[in-house]
Symmetry: C3
Subunit: 348 residues, 3 copies
């Protein structure tokens, strides 16, 4: 059911690119080089995909000026092919939108405030005092708590849970199963039991934030948990209470950020990494996937802390020494001392 579009028109509409080849051809699909057919337009992101460029069935390909010579296929040449192709793919495959209006099975508290042009799916609950911004879309099965705020043009996929008093900005996208505003993990020990610290802060999420599936973002204990504008979180990410994630930082899946840690702007945090609590990570830091960070980072750089994997036999043999690495280092020191003495003795 995809519609054919003339390449010339698409390039005129999106700008910042020029065509080499047949600008009158028509495409209907954005595709990978290997998955393309004769109605597809594809893209070359990195030179290491150029083998696929040779065999692609795509009608046209988006690429950077440096790669123009790699093919004879009709090319769309642009400075940032990946971002340009992203906009093109959105043009060819616009996101599905639910019809404007409130599904009859949704339960909207009379004291909720619903904006203009809102789409609310089946079996949604919007509690008293909640505010749904203009043109926001709330997927089936979402639960919006009391006095929560959903910004204009924000899209909640099915089954998102938003606790009371949480505030979400405009143009955000939240994926299914994600929970915003659960209590932070705060308990005080007393007489061998744990006393719950009430979590009376909120969660504040800026504009243009995307959060993946089955994430959890806890509300603050006293002050708020804050996710600044443009942040992107992947699936199964845990953001603990009173964390602050700086603008335009991206965090890949299965990562956890412990309580009260501040991550600066424009950081890139790999998947399955762990940031301990009460740290400050300077803006522009990159953390490799699988890394545990236990100290603050003041110098923007790429940080890694991954144990190199190996075949089990080799791992057993090598890793056993980790438990006596200090002894090994001291043995080397002793040898150095003995060697020096022997040199001294030889020389005397």
């Amino acid at each position: 059911v995809a519609q054919r579009r003339r390449l010339r028109e698409l390039v005129e509409r999106l700008g910042d690119a020029e065509i080499i080849g047949d600008d009158s051809l028509e495409v209907s699909r954005a595709a990978s080089l290997s998955g393309a057919d004769a109605e597809s337009i594809s893209f070359l992101h990195r030179a290491d995909y150029q083998d696929q460029l040779k065999t692609t069935a795509a009608a046209a390909v988006v690429l950077a000026p440096a790669h123009v010579g790699l093919t004879d296929i009709t090319r769309v040449v642009t400075a940032n092919p990946y971002a340009w192709f992203a906009r093109l793919a959105t043009e060819l495959h616009p996101p599905r939108v639910a019809p404007v209006g409130i599904h009859p099975s949704a339960v909207i508290d009379p004291a909720a405030v619903i904006g203009q042009g809102v789409r609310i799916g089946a079996l949604v609950h919007v509690a008293a005092g909640a505010r749904i911004g203009d043109r926001a879309s709330i997927g089936a099965g979402c639960i919006i708590g009391e006095e929560a705020t959903i910004g204009a043009d924000t899209l909640l996929h099915a089954q998102v849970t938003v606790y009371h008093a949480v505030s979400i900005g405009a143009r955000c996208i939240l994926h299914s199963g994600t929970v915003i505003g659960s209590d932070g993990f705060g308990f005080a020990p007393q007489d061998g039991r744990w006393i719950k610290i009430p979590q009376i802060g909120r969660v504040r999420i800026g504009d243009d934030v995307e959060i993946g599936a089955n994430c959890a973002v806890d509300r603050g204990a006293l002050d708020d948990t804050v996710i600044e504008e443009g942040v992107k979180l992947d699936n199964l990410v845990q953001i603990a209470h009173n964390v602050r994630i700086g603008a335009h930082t991206v965090i890949a899946g299965n990562t956890g950020v412990a309580g009260s840690t501040t991550v600066g702007d424009h950081c890139i945090i790999g998947g399955a990494s762990t940031l301990a609590g009460h740290l400050t990570i300077v803006a522009g830091t990159t953390i490799a996937g699988g890394t545990t960070i236990t100290r603050s980072i003041a110098q923007p750089d790429t940080y890694v802390g991954v144990f190199p994997s190996d075949r089990r036999g080799e791992w057993l043999r090598n890793s056993a020494h980790l438990r006596s690495l200090d002894a090994l280092a001291r043995r080397v020191k002793r040898l150095e001392k003995a060697s020096e003495e022997s040199i001294v003795k030889d020389e005397t």
Copy 2:
């Protein structure tokens, strides 16, 4: 309310086993050796449980020919006791099934296609164009997106979310909170912001797949994310966009597989492990729990990459040297050189 069944009948029904002892006795429960009572049948899986075999109250026990001599209790002898016991336990404790039919509180779009003998629970939403296969069971609170396909005899427990155009095979089991078809994590940097790459691929799940609770399986960016037949995923597993998991591979809990990685057939991947993106893992590979894999694996073997834990004091002392391991290695090299020279000198 369990029903008593004569042992002889059970063995005749399931086949591939013979009884040593009283074949007329009756059992009503499958139980562990330590949890068994006089109406229970239990099993011995590995010889290291033979202490429990001595004290079990079970009426009968399933075991391998090699272990027949370990007890005088009535035995069911079979080549693969664990698998045989699994079938026996299913016979004694058949899964609960909801009544056939659609709960009156479920919201089924008129343009959805519902098979024969389907069970749809309370507060389910099935969107337009979705197809529910014959005898499938959709638990309470599930949300099935537009044009999604659920195969025959597939069981979705409560609160599963299936995005639009996802395809799930026959005889699958999906547990609660799991999300299939959320957007992959794809953004292109431009001018200090992240442009969303539309995720227009699908998720295709083969037959006989089981997926645990609170997992997330992302749809592909352009091509599809694929989970082949017989795959088993534990809880809280993250499968990123364009991943392919080969047939009959098992992945334990809290594991993440990053984008575009291909895992071969019959792999065993331990819990809390991480596979970086764009890797190829050969069929038959085993990866130990807690391991991060950053390079493709071409040789099937068992791979490990776990930092050995230790008491804090020891860990502090030993791990400190990891930050100067290269220096230590160079110091050893220098000592070796000095030692060689001194030998040469001694010999001259």
Copy 3:
């Protein structure tokens, strides 16, 4: 809308503390030192926050006798300021409670048993044979399975899923997206396929347990999975089948406990840690965040197994040697032998 309360009254009500300064002042908010205003009461938990004490706008501060001299602000002096402040904050900011009664959109099976003073939110499903204890609160969108039991005064936030026959104690708190009672991950290999082991055990959760958002607690295979009283689990925690978590143990986010492992009472397990299966962890053990435990622990102590992170260049240089650590150790041994021989030679 917070209400002003006189400090003297609050201290009389909560006990175990005395006021130094103006006991007639009024406060309406519990706040952090840095987030406090003139109507706030704050607290000093550890001496390293004393800089914030100097600049706080709080009207009063809760602190320990040892810290009385650090400020002139009105002080509430008590032996355990953190726990006392927790009770104070609960007094000033009582938890939101839903109105008593059953929301008209909830679907309650006629064969469910609902206690006195229960609150059941919108779009909840309670299945046949389930029992909801007195004064329990079931948030919007929760699904309670057949014959599940929810204890008195227990609070389920929105979208919790409780499978059939699960038992949850009194005064528990479960956060959104959490799944209790999904099948354990049990499969027996046969002829290159995996046969499902039916999971016929249950989950039993004691009193005063709190479980965070998007956790998964599997039911037992044959025996039960058990979480004892007073346990606190953070978000995205995975508890596999037949695990037992001892009383008053706390487990931080993203942690996984594999099948049949027993964790003793009063353990503290940091975030993103992994406990392998079939282990026994003695009571009183502390495990640092990010640690993988592969052996049982018999001695209560603090255990760590984190690979220290470093800048990428340093990490590359140092970690490369881990794959030849055994060879390095043997080279040191050889040098020691050579050195001894040379000493022997020198001395002879």
